[in-house]
């Protein structure tokens, strides 16, 4: 059976120890949108306020393409990222398919890989992939994907990236053809 692919680029990642604080906690203005955003030093992320809920800013993006697939078909998600820093063992690449909405990402199917990253002073490119088999219980709204890399020893800075509306779930509704009355009989 054909494996359909979707690729994501996580950009650069660093170890937590190597991270330097770039922002003081507080409110900023997003230069792209002009909307106020809050920087949290604990999660080291920007947040925007939506409906009383703070949402991490900018980890979901419009999908560059859509992949159509149905129950029983396989989807290969590929990621790439660059890493420089001390050697890391046990970092986790996490792949999720689910529903992204107002209250965040509702994970439906998840896959993980454990990775070791080499010590390097220059950013080295790494790639990872995970192949999902779409379950029969798939919902037609399972159309979002995100991936992240985190954890390990020493821990890498959690880096997350996703695509909205990346999938088109088909095959949930039957396709019927050649429908005809062949007979009718008095019984």
């Amino acid at each position: 059976m054909e494996i359909k692919t979707l690729e994501l680029n996580l950009g650069g990642i660093r170890t937590l120890q190597a991270r330097t604080q770039e922002y003081a906690p507080g409110w900023y203005v997003d230069p792209e949108t002009g909307q106020p955003v809050y920087y949290d030093t604990v999660t080291r992320n920007f947040y925007t306020l939506s409906g009383g809920v703070y949402l991490p800013l900018g980890y979901m993006n419009p999908a560059p393409k859509q992949v159509s697939l149905g129950p029983g078909e396989r989807l290969k998600v590929s990621i790439s990222y660059k890493y420089s820093g001390p050697a890391v063992s046990g970092a986790v690449e996490r792949f999720c398919v689910g529903i992204y909405g107002l209250f965040g990402f509702n994970e439906q199917i998840v896959g993980t890989n454990t990775r070791s990253l080499s010590q390097s002073t220059m950013p080295l490119t790494y790639t990872g992939e995970y192949t999902f088999t779409i379950p029969t219980s798939v919902g037609t709204d399972w159309d979002d994907i995100y991936c992240k890399i985190s954890g390990g020893s020493p821990g890498v800075n959690e880096t997350i990236f996703g695509y909205e509306n990346a999938l088109v779930i088909t095959g949930k509704d039957p396709t019927i053809s050649e429908f005809k009355i062949t007979d009718f009989v008095k019984v």
Partner: protein
């Protein structure tokens, strides 16, 4: 047992009596990714100036389960429909079409109601229904009522018109 062979869109007209039960067999092909429950329904219909009208009292239905398949599967299914006599609120004598349709779940919506069914097969004037009793005291009385009314009215109006001329 009366058996009539039908070809798609070239169904031959059959004669049936009110009170008969008909078993309608359909065939189709499908492809679906998950277990899917459908409702197969069949019913007579008639056509007039305002369109097609289902004889709902005679509609039959059954449940179908489609098993998942990524390949096209041939499926045959049958549904029974009872031609309820008109005296019980069913079908009148006359000529009717036959419509069979598939909808998701247990929907009982008409075949021409939006959203459209998943599949539909129909043909006009394929069933001639007879056998409903044409009479009885009540029917005879009903057919004579207009004439009786006219006679009674003439009987009342006549003396008034000729009144005082004795």
């Amino acid at each position: 047992m009366l058996e009539i062979a039908l070809a798609p869109l070239a169904l031959q007209t059959g004669n049936f009596a009110a009170g008969d039960t008909l078993r309608v067999t359909v065939s189709f092909q499908y492809k679906v990714g998950v277990d899917t429950s459908l409702t197969l329904r069949a019913a007579p219909y008639y056509t007039n100036l305002f369109g097609k009208h289902l004889v709902s009292s005679c509609a039959g239905q059954c449940d179908l389960l489609l098993e998942p398949s990524s390949e096209v599967i041939d499926k045959v299914a049958a549904v029974d429909m009872a031609l309820t006599p008109s005296s019980l609120g069913g079908i009148e004598n006359g000529t009717y079409g036959l419509v069979v349709w598939l909808r998701s779940g247990n929907s009982t919506a008409d075949p021409w109601t939006l959203p459209s069914p998943l599949a539909r097969g129909e043909q006009d004037n394929v069933m001639v229904i007879s056998g409903n009793s044409s009479g009885g005291i009540t029917d005879t009385f009903s057919s004579m009522m207009p004439m009786l009314m006219m006679v009674m009215m003439l009987g009342m109006v006549g003396p008034m018109l000729s009144g005082g001329e004795e």
